[in-house]
């Protein structure tokens, strides 16, 4: 059983998944940041692969990507950093990124190296379902990688069921139609999550976009299996002299 399924089997509520950008704030922060997150008690990590043109992300995550690229981060370097990282990091890790750098690396080679690391799944928001089904999905399956689809409040029920059937690991519920890092109307989010909950989907549901602190995290968790925090965490890391201490405080504040 892979780490993601194992996690959801053991724990169905209040799962905290935190997004961090590989190579940020320092080139070699990738694994230390993941270790600190794990020690602070996060359940899962979404590790962002920086890209020059991250369409689905807001300015904070884009700025962290630009910084990581300026630090010299590349996919090849990421896989070097992940060599032996499982000696320290045991929580599930999902790689998140955009299609272009992955295609350039070579899709199959990328899946092979991801599986070797090993990471547990992939989120590629600009990989559409048609290309997933016809070309890329079978490659990911061959290497045992989960692939997580996104759904939004604008996604029809029929389409949610379809994306749920294609998704493995979990389903990523974008809290409202937006890029990352925008404040949300949490009542509207509530209605949407209740709607998803009633659909009794195959996959566990994690909520992302706009989750930034303890109240928003708890609210998201009331109708889903957990939530993903990205922008607020990256913001906390900006200009901090004490990365480890900042991470510990940030996570403790959410989980307390």
């Amino acid at each position: 059983m892979n780490r993601i399924n194992e996690l959801f089997k053991r724990k169905q509520n209040g799962i905290l998944n935190v997004y961090c950008t590989a190579g940020y704030p320092q080139l070699n922060s990738t694994v230390p940041v993941m270790e600190a997150l794990q020690e602070s008690g996060v359940d899962m990590i979404e590790l962002g692969m920086p890209y020059s043109d991250p369409l689905a992300d807001g300015p904070v995550i884009q700025a962290s990507s630009s910084k990581a690229l300026a630090n010299g981060m590349t996919i090849a370097r990421l896989f070097e950093q992940l060599r032996d990282f499982r000696k320290q990091v045991y929580v599930p890790v999902i790689l998140m990124g955009y299609m272009n750098p992955v295609l350039q690396y070579g899709f199959e080679k990328f899946c092979q190296h991801a599986a070797d690391a090993p990471v547990d799944g992939l989120i590629l928001p600009d990989l559409p379902e048609y290309e997933f089904e016809t070309e890329y999905g079978p490659i990911m399956q061959r290497y045992g990688l989960d692939f997580i689809f996104l759904v939004t409040p604008e996604t029809s029920e029929e389409r949610i069921r379809r994306l749920d059937s294609l998704s493995t690991g979990f389903l990523y519920a974008v809290s409202s139609s937006s890029t990352t890092g925008k404040d949300k109307d949490m009542n509207a989010v509530d209605n949407y999550l209740q709607r998803l909950q009633k659909m009794q989907l195959k996959n566990p549901v994690l909520v992302g976009f706009g989750i930034k602190d303890k109240p928003t995290f708890q609210q998201a968790c009331s109708h889903a299996n957990g939530a993903i925090i990205g922008t607020a965490f990256i913001k906390a890391l900006e200009n901090t002299p004490d990365v480890e201490g900042t991470i510990k405080k940030f996570i403790t504040d959410i989980k307390s």
Binding site: Y51, S52, D53, L55, A56, G58, P59, Q62, A63, S66, L69, T74, I75, A76, Y98, M99, N100, P101, V102, L103, Q104, Y105, P125, D126, L127, P128, Y130, E131, F149, L150, V151, T152, E154, T155, S156, R159, L163, V174, S177, S178, T179, K182
Partner: protein
């Protein structure tokens, strides 16, 4: 004659050969799917066509002339016709597409229009049709381009548009496009995104090509009137994203006797490190929602191109053009900044027409297409692409040069 491939029509998923598709995050799915499922029904509806064509005629000033350029023809020893898109309202072909898309947006019930712009030509054309229809207009423009293109920024503002600087990434056209896409993600219900070129996720490349196809539709009957034949031997057009080329090529795509020549911006030279010649330098990749050729680093980061012409300064190319290049249906050449400037001054002096810098790249390629070219092109010219004294060569003069006067003035001081 039968052709086994169709270049005009992408397949159901929006692919031209290996290129195209709709590589978009789920947040855009509903909007793009709504467009995809409705665009053909809407634009081929009789009432739509009537309004579209009457606006092209009465408002944009179509048909634009097809002008036999006598002195230019003599210079190059062939028969050169200029398709005068520079005489369109707002000064370029861009308005053909924005008129089509504003009518489409109206029928989709959208109340708010967003657009990206590089040099500002598409931004001005969008602001123009929004004023015409009384619709809110927001134009994203790279912070650097806002500084470089002050007159067009002022035109957009005078037309009532809000110009928002794109401050992310390299602060130019590709970043303005990212910001416009992000705006669309954040405003999924009431907003239509008017993309200015044959780029973006399916159905945009096909939709924009159809709106621009009026260019080649007119060339066919105009040429018939002038020469007795609807078919030229050559059609030349510059390519950034490729909208004027898509329009000029469209009704000749399935005519194998017509040599299609696309001219990219070589900047300081294709291999100088400062270039925008995407087919020469790009690799297959995904940019702004479609798979095409993309200028990028080995690690798949999109690079900033360079061209003296802001309208060609784009690190990608429409998927139709990537397919024309890949299948060799089109010949892809390039002209440097210097060659484009020379061609602009040449046209001004020979024909009394001041062309846009973009269009000047197409004019510059006339040098390379002569039977005995004194100036070899950086990209190899296929032997059958050369013209003879009996050829009929149509050059799409996509825009006028008023917006480029600052560059031309600088060039005159140093000449």
């Amino acid at each position: 004659m039968t052709t086994t491939t169709t270049y005009q029509q992408p397949n159901a998923q929006g692919y031209y050969g290996k290129f195209g598709g709709a590589f978009i995050p789920e947040m855009l799915h509903r909007n793009v799917e709504e467009l995809r499922s409705k665009y053909l029904d809407i634009i081929y509806d009789a009432a739509f066509q009537k309004e579209f064509r009457s606006l092209l005629h009465d408002y944009a000033g179509r048909p634009t002339p097809l002008y036999f350029a006598q002195r230019l023809s003599k210079q190059y020893g062939t028969n050169i016709y200029l398709k005068r898109e520079d005489l369109c309202h707002t000064g370029a072909h861009k308005v053909n597409n924005t008129i089509g898309q504003i009518l489409l947006a109206e029928r989709l019930g959208k109340k708010r229009i967003i657009a990206e712009t590089g040099a500002g030509q598409h931004g001005v054309a969008t602001a123009t049709v929004c004023a015409l229809k009384g619709v809110e207009c927001i134009v994203y423009m790279g912070e650097k381009d806002i500084e470089r293109q002050a007159p067009n920024v002022a035109r957009m503002k005078m037309l009532g548009a809000t110009v928002i600087p794109a401050t992310s990434g390299s602060k130019t056209l590709k970043d303005a496009t990212n910001e416009a896409i992000r705006d669309w993600i954040n405003n999924p219900v009431d907003t239509h995104y008017i993309i200015g070129s044959v780029v973006g996720p399916h159905p945009y490349p096909d939709m924009v090509a159809r709106f621009q196809s009026v260019i080649s539709e007119e060339i066919r009957w105009q040429l018939k009137e002038k020469t007795g034949s609807e078919l030229p031997t050559h059609v030349l057009a510059c390519v950034g994203g490729g909208s004027n080329a898509a329009g000029a090529f469209y009704h000749f795509l399935e005519e194998p006797t017509v040599q299609l020549v696309a001219i990219e911006a070589a900047g300081n030279g294709v291999h100088s490190g400062l270039s925008a010649a995407t087919t020469q330098l790009g690799k297959p990749g995904v940019l702004h929602g479609s798979k095409s050729l993309v200028m990028q680093t080995e690690d798949g980061q999109v690079v900033e191109p360079h061209s003296i012409s802001a309208g060609l300064d784009y690190p990608g190319i429409g998927p139709l053009h990537a397919h024309l290049f890949d299948s060799r249906r089109g010949a892809f050449l390039s002209a440097t900044d210097e060659q484009a400037l020379e061609a602009a001054f040449n046209l001004a002096k020979k024909e009394g027409i001041i062309p846009a810098l973009e269009s000047s790249h197409a004019l510059a390629s006339l040098e390379f297409l002569q039977p005995e070219s004194p100036k070899p092109s950086e990209a190899p010219v296929p032997a059958n692409a050369k013209f003879t004294k009996d050829s009929t060569v149509v050059v799409c003069l996509s825009g006028r040069g008023d917006k480029d006067m600052a560059t031309y003035m600088k060039a005159m001081n140093i000449q």
